[in-house]
């Protein structure tokens, strides 16, 4: 059952009914879903959650739609793996990797799109849409296919071919837009305001973003009903980061875990680091910039939730870290070669930020640290192409023995 009670403005607090709306009429602040927590408290228990389905919908009491109607490709309950090899490298005895690269369309976006598409159907929309540079496009196209909806996906015209195919295979109407990043942004935003579409990250955004809370619920449950001491997660719009925080705190509020003392660390690549720059400057508003980074999935120069991220960092003692561009690929390789997990550029950013924080002595060696890997490396292979160094030999034993020296 769904306990969502209203949308409320994060700036002025005004309340609105549960409708396809994302902005406060009065102050133009962003809207967020609120719940009837007393009712949730009566309905929820650790046992009830444990008995639920083995996917993100086991937490539907905390989502704005219930699982009976869910557009579900089997998203969530992804592995939380103890990362002993990487931990050893970094001097951490309790390092964990949340591997969300193994979702149905290979990124955490399936969580948010699963919620958004379910809500869109409930509202009676026939068209599911988004503007994306890859991960979101694939997820929207796939969920639209499953839900029997028309899908409409806008992408910048210069996107890598691999990502274009990764979305088009599900049969959306795919629109490639010529123009600068800002041009594409303005166009998509105007189109969203003037058409009867469920644009998952615009007019469905309050519902969409709630899906990311399941990243916190799963980790808390998988750790044995507790929040970690530290989280390292990527920052683009900042939505995922703020929702992980919200998720842990909701669990604590419902008595499912103890009070949350988690320190949150956000990771960006230098080439698009408006939140890290604001953090360094000690201000709560990020200055928009033009993204120029290999971590394209994190290339949001004007992040909608920057202010809320910076507030969490200020109040909870966390940090936003910008990693140099050449450390993005290095982070991907470090993760692959220590833990056998091939994450995309956003993962490289997270692992390098984790490494920097570890080297700076931010973590106590025995503290529980969780790093979120949110997308699959097969989507951004170019970045680590230099790691391909095959040894070419003639088909005989002598050639093998002369040239091949197996190192670890």
């Amino acid at each position: 059952m769904a306990f969502a009670s209203a949308l409320h403005c994060r700036e002025c607090g005004r309340e609105y009914p549960i409708e396809p709306n994302y902005v406060c009429d009065f102050c133009f602040g962003p809207l967020e879903v609120t719940y009837d927590y007393d009712a949730i408290q009566k309905a929820i228990s650790r046992e009830k959650i444990s008995d639920g389905p083995m996917d993100m919908w086991r937490y539907d009491d905390f989502l704005p739609v219930s699982r009976e109607n869910a557009v579900n490709l089997g998203t969530g309950m992804t592995p939380l793996l103890k990362a002993d090899n990487l931990g050893k490298e970094l001097g951490l005895n309790n390092l964990w990797i949340k591997n969300d690269a193994v979702n149905p369309t290979y990124s955490f976006k399936d969580r948010v799109v699963s919620v958004a598409s379910t809500k869109a159907l409930e509202f009676g929309f026939e068209t599911l849409a988004c503007a994306s540079t890859g991960n979101l496009a694939g997820s929207v196209a796939a969920h639209g296919a499953k839900a029997g909806m028309k899908t409409l996906v806008f992408i910048p015209a210069d996107l890598e071919y691999g990502k274009v195919i990764g979305a088009s295979v599900y049969g959306p109407t795919l629109v490639t837009v010529n123009g600068s990043y800002d041009d594409v942004n303005r166009l998509c935003s105007e189109l969203a305001d003037n058409n009867p579409w469920a644009v998952v990250n615009i007019n469905m955004r309050p519902y969409y973003s709630e899906g990311s809370k399941t990243l916190a619920y799963e980790v808390a449950e998988q750790l044995g009903w507790r929040a970690p001491d530290h989280v390292v997660a990527p920052l683009a719009s900042g939505s995922l980061f703020t929702k992980i925080w919200k998720g842990f705190n909701e669990f604590a509020k419902m008595g499912l875990i103890d009070e949350v003392t988690t320190t949150m660390h956000g990771a960006q690549a230098v080439g698009c680091s408006p939140i890290a720059k604001a953090y360094d400057a000690g201000v709560l508003h990020a200055k928009p910039e033009v993204p120029n980074t290999v971590a394209k999935s994190l290339g949001i120069g004007n992040p909608a939730d920057a202010y809320y991220v910076l507030k969490i960092l200020k109040e909870g003692g966390g940090a936003a870290v910008a990693v140099p561009e050449d450390e993005v690929g290095e982070g991907m390789i470090l993760l692959a070669q220590t833990e056998g997990i091939f994450g995309e550029t956003a993962a490289g950013v997270v692992v390098s930020a984790l490494k920097r924080q570890a080297e700076a002595g931010v973590f106590d060696p025995d503290e529980t640290v969780v790093a979120y890997i949110t997308g699959n490396g097969l989507k951004t292979q170019e970045v680590v192409a230099s790691s391909v160094q095959p040894i070419n030999i003639e088909p005989n034993m002598e050639a093998f023995e002369a040239k091949v020296n197996i190192t670890s």
């Binding site: 133009f28 994306s132 540079t133 303005r186 998509c188 956003a346």
Partner: protein, 80 residues
Amino acid sequence: MASRRVKITFPEVLVGRPLVYNLGSKFDIVTSIRRADVGAETGWVILELQGDEEEINKAIIWALEQGVRVDPIAGDVIEG
């Protein structure tokens, strides 16, 4: 009558300029400020622009030419 909701971000050199006033006087549109934060170095204003679709477009293009940034209120809408 159309209406457009935008966020205008000012760089340091433009903070002192009467940009919002000029938008309303140079163009046949009504501007209404919903939220703002203007400091010594940078600032932003969240505005509603009301008027003819074409007049709003002209006003936004003019504002961009003055060197400010004009974005949809929801921030960047293209996600990774």
